[in-house]
Amino acid sequence: MMEPKGGEEAMVNVERLNRDLKILLAMFGREGVTWQIDPQRGGFIIIKHLPLPPNVHPRVTGLKVAVPDNLYQRSGRGWVFYKDIWVDPGLKVRYPDGRWGPIPRHHDAPYRGDRDSGWRYLCAYPQSVVDEKVTILDLIRFVQVWFANCLELNRNWF
């Protein structure tokens, strides 16, 4: 768990971040989750094996989520939430004709500073979060639901 640095004001809301880390540890176990976070600068969380819906192959991916340096601070009407998401390369989605093909908005090529990391950036993110009770569970559901609907969302997006 994280602790605010003495005498300094943590930018990340450490209490809510710790709640999220506890949720992840309960869901995925100590071996299934890693994180590297500086309360002043943010960082990232990695879930090693996140289950995916049946329209995606393989049915599991690693998930890397950036922790912004102002996570869970007030922003406008809502709260700063997790946004940048990376997943495994090589993921495929089943198209209506039955073939497996590329996933929309899944950049299956190196991205910026992640050139050699093995992660692939997902151009889908949670927008404004106004619910005070939101947790990282909402992000996990977001990713899974996005994958389940990615073809329709890509077709209907304006």
Binding site: Y125, S128, N149, L153
Partner: protein, 64 residues
């Protein structure tokens, strides 16, 4: 009118027997029109879709 109980994010909500997603949204008092999905299939629902037994919500979707 006959009623039934559905679940939204694990919380029971009493709605009419033929409730749509819009009615569930209203009865559950969900904030900011956030997307609702069928918890069984993971498929996003439209406002006029019949309400399944169990639903979940996610934050609004942004795509780059």
């Amino acid at each position: 009118m006959a009623e039934k109980t559905v679940k939204v994010d694990g919380r029971p909500v009493l709605v009419s027997e033929k409730a749509t997603v819009a009615e569930v949204r209203e009865k559950a008092g969900l904030p900011d029109k956030r997307p609702i999905y069928d918890a069984k299939s993971g498929k996003l629902l439209q406002e006029n879709d019949p309400a399944p037994e169990e639903m979940g919500t996610i934050p609004h979707i942004g795509q780059g």
